[in-house]
Symmetry: C2
Amino acid sequence: MIFTGRHLIAGEWADGGPTFTSDPVTGDPLTVFNGGRDEVDRAAKAAEAAFRTFGWTSREERARFLEAIADAIEARGEEITAIGTAETGLLDARLNGERGRTTGQLRLFAKVLREGDYLDRRYESASDANPDLRLMQRPFGPVGVFGASNFPLAFSVAGGDTASALAAGCPVIVKGHPAHPGTGEIVADAILDAMKTCGLPKGTFQFVQSNSREAGEALVTHPLITAVGFTGSLGVGRSLFDLACRRDTPIPFYGELGSINPVFCLPAAMAKRAGDIGSGWAGSLTMGVGQFCTNPGVLIAKESDALEILVTAADSALADVDDAPMLTQGIAQSYREGRNAAVDAGAEAARRSGGSDRRNAPDLLRVSGTEWLSNSRLHEEVFGPFGIVVAAQTEDQMIEIAERLEGQLTASIHLEDGDEALGQHLLPILERKAGRILANGWPTGVAVSPAMMHGGPYPATTVNGTTSVGTLAIQRFLRPVCYQNIPQALLPADLAK
Amino acid sequence: MIFTGRHLIAGEWADGGPTFTSDPVTGDPLTVFNGGRDEVDRAAKAAEAAFRTFGWTSREERARFLEAIADAIEARGEEITAIGTAETGLLDARLNGERGRTTGQLRLFAKVLREGDYLDRRYESASDANPDLRLMQRPFGPVGVFGASNFPLAFSVAGGDTASALAAGCPVIVKGHPAHPGTGEIVADAILDAMKTCGLPKGTFQFVQSNSREAGEALVTHPLITAVGFTGSLGVGRSLFDLACRRDTPIPFYGELGSINPVFCLPAAMAKRAGDIGSGWAGSLTMGVGQFCTNPGVLIAKESDALEILVTAADSALADVDDAPMLTQGIAQSYREGRNAAVDAGAEAARRSGGSDRRNAPDLLRVSGTEWLSNSRLHEEVFGPFGIVVAAQTEDQMIEIAERLEGQLTASIHLEDGDEALGQHLLPILERKAGRILANGWPTGVAVSPAMMHGGPYPATTVNGTTSVGTLAIQRFLRPVCYQNIPQALLPADLAK
C-alpha cells in the first residue's frame, strides 16, 4: 500500500488541512493531512445521512460487516505489522497478537449481534387495563472515536470502541492518533473495503487524520455527534469531557483516562512467595514498555523481610529489561518528568533508569505508607514502566491506603491461607475503587469476553459503570425505546412476534 | 401525626437552618426548617457509613425493607392523602391512586430483587489460558434524590428514584420539595419506621427539608454522593447537571427536565375520528391540571376540515374544565408567562383561560406549521394544561416538524388504514426523538413495568438511555464489577456457585 496521509470522508480519500510529518521509530516519516473543523463537519453530515440506513440494518447485516472488516484486516496482516512496528516501536509479536485481538473482538461482536441478547427485549401483552408494550435497545446515532496511542490496533481505528459502536448500529468517525497515521490509514482502508463489500452507506465509517486539538474538539462538540469513545490522558480526556458536558445537548463522553492499578500483597502470600511476586510484578510492569492501561504501577505490602525479598527480586528482574522506545517522544519525556516528580515528592529510587530521547528503561521506587498517604502526587499515574513500592507500617495502614485510592481500572490482591481476614476487609473497599478485582495474578492481559469490565470509577473512566472492552461495551451506544400499541406494520423487525 | 418541619438525619428528627413557611392550597401553613450545607454534609457522612453495611445486605433483606416501606405508607394512607391534597390541591382520588402506584413500585422492586436478573451475572470458567471471571452489578454508593412537585408521592420522598436506588443497595438522601413538606415528612416517617423494623443502619434513608438552592447544590456537589435523581424544570435541572459535571469527580445526574410530548395525527385517522381525537386530547391535557411529565402539549395535523372538527371538539371538552389550583404559586405564574409568550410568538388563542393567583384553566392555541418551524419559542414546554395545535401545510411539513423536535419523553401517532406510508416515514424520526412511541393513545398514564421507558434524549432527560420509571430505573445506580480468580471465601454471596 502507498500511504497518502488522507482522510476517509463519505467513502472518498480526501485531502484537507495543512500537513504534519509523522515521527516513526524506524523508517521514513509520512506526510499527513491535518484535519480540522471542516473535515469533521463533512464527516458528521455524512455519518448522519448514513445512520438513516445503517441504524436500521439487520443484526445479520452488521454481523457480516464486522466479519468483513476482520477479513480485510487479516488480508493486510503483514503490512499492518510492518507499518505498526515502524511507527510505534512495539515488537512484531505484540502487534501480531494485537491484530488477533482486534479481529477477535470484531468477530465477537458479530456473535453478540446474532444472539441478540444485547437488545434486552421486553414484551408486555395488552389487557383490558394495559397497552401492548415492547422495549428494546436502539442505537444513539453517529459516534466519535479517538484512536489511542498505546494500542494502535485494538484501541484505535478498528478497535473496541469502533467495533462496539458499529455493532450497535452507530456510524463511526475515528480521529486517528498522530503517533501511528500509517497504521491508521491501512486499517481505515480495510474498513472501507468491507463497507464496499457489504454495500453500506458511505458515511458508515470515516477517518480523520489530525495532530491538533481542533479536530478532536470539533468531534466532541459537533451537534450531530451523539456519543464519544476516548482512551488517553487525564488532562486531554477531562478537557474533552468538559466540552461534551457543556454542549447545548450534552452527550456521553466515554473516556478512559488513567489508572495506577494497585496491587496489595498480604502477609501470608508474602511469607510464601515474595520473590515470585516481585519478579511477576516486574514482568507485568514492563510489558509493552509499561504502556498498558492496566499497568500495575503501585504495590502495597507491610514492611517486612519478605518485602525486601520482593524488592530484590523485582529489581533483579528489571535489571534484565533494556531500555526501549516509547510510543512518542512526548510520552517518553512525560515519563521522565513523572518519575522525577515522584522522586522529588519523597520516593526513594531503588532503580533509576535515566532514559533519554524516546527511550526509557524501568524505574523502581519505594516510599513508606505514611509518606504515600501524605503526598497525593505519589498517587498519580506515570505512564510507562514505572513501579512504586509502598511499605505500610501496619495492616491498618494498608486499609487506609486502599481507602485513599482514586478510581481504578483494576485492583489486585495477592493472598494465601491466613490472609482471609485482611482480604475480607480489603475487598469491599477495593470493589468501590475498581472495575475489576483480581486475586493472585496481574492485571495486564484483558480478556475480551462477556464477563470483562474494563472501566472503573473516575478518573479510570469518565462514566462509571461503562467498559471499553468486552461485550458490555456495546451498551454505551444504546438506549431503550418503548413501543406502545405500535401496529405490526410499523414495528421494527426485531420486536415483531 | 404532628408535623415538626424537621429533617431526618442519621435516624433522628433534627432541627437545622432557619425556617420557611409552607403554602398549602388549603389548611394551615407549616413552619419548616430550611436545611442547607451543614444538614447535607451530616446526612452524606451518615449515608456513607450506612453504605458499608447496606451496600452488602442481601437482596432478600432489601426486598423486605421495600415491602416494609410500602406497608408503613399504607398504614398512614388516609393521613397522607389528607395532607397531600391540602398541600398540592390535587384531588383525593388522584392521591389515593398515586399512593397505590408508589407502594406498587416499591413492591415491584422487591420482586426484581428476589428474581435477581438485574444483577446481569456472567460467569466464565477458568481454563489453561483463561482466569475465572465473574461479573455482576454492584451499587454506586450514597445517592441524592430531589422530590418533584408534581407527583408528591410517586416521584418524591418514597418515589421511583428512591425505590430504585434503595433496591440497588444505595443509601438515599432526599431533598424534600418545599411545595409539600408535610407530605414529605409523613412519608419519611414511614420509611424511618421500616428502617427500624428491618434493623438497617441509620443513614440508609435520610430527608432534608429545604426551599433554597443551597441544600440542592450541596447534595449534588458533596464528595460522598455518587449519583443524583432529579425531576423538575429545565433551568434548575441544567444548572444542577452542570454542577455534577464540574465536580473533581463527576457523577451522573439523572435529571428529567421537560417534554412537550408531540402527538401526530395522520390523515386517515383524522378523517375517521377527528372529534374523538380532539376530546381525547383535551382529557389527557388536563389530567392533574396538566402537571404531568408526559402531558401532550403539541398536536400536529394537516390543515383540513377534519382539523377544524378536532379543534372544535377539543375546545368544547376544555370548556367543561374549571380552573383549578396548581401545585405552587410559582408554577401558576410561570404557566401564564409561558402561555403569553406563545401568544406573543404568534400563536392564535383558540381558548384563552386568563387565570389568576394560583389557579389556571386550560389554554388552547393554534399556529401554522410554517410559523411553528420559524419560531423555536413555540417548541418550549409550558408546564400545565396548555395545548397547541400545529396546522401543517403538507405531509412533508409534518415530517419537517418531527425532525425539528427536541428530545422528548414520548411521541404519539394517531393512524388508521391508509396512514402506513406516512407512519413508516415518521416512526424512525420519532424513535430518535423520544423514549416511548405510542400509537392511537395518549401518553399520560405511565405503566410501572419492565418494558416501560420514561426518559428520552435531552432535554427530556439529561442522561439519554436512562429511565426514572419501571424496573430499568435500577440500572442508573449500578456498575458492573468483574471478579477474577477471587477465592470463594471472599466472593460476594450473589456470585458464589
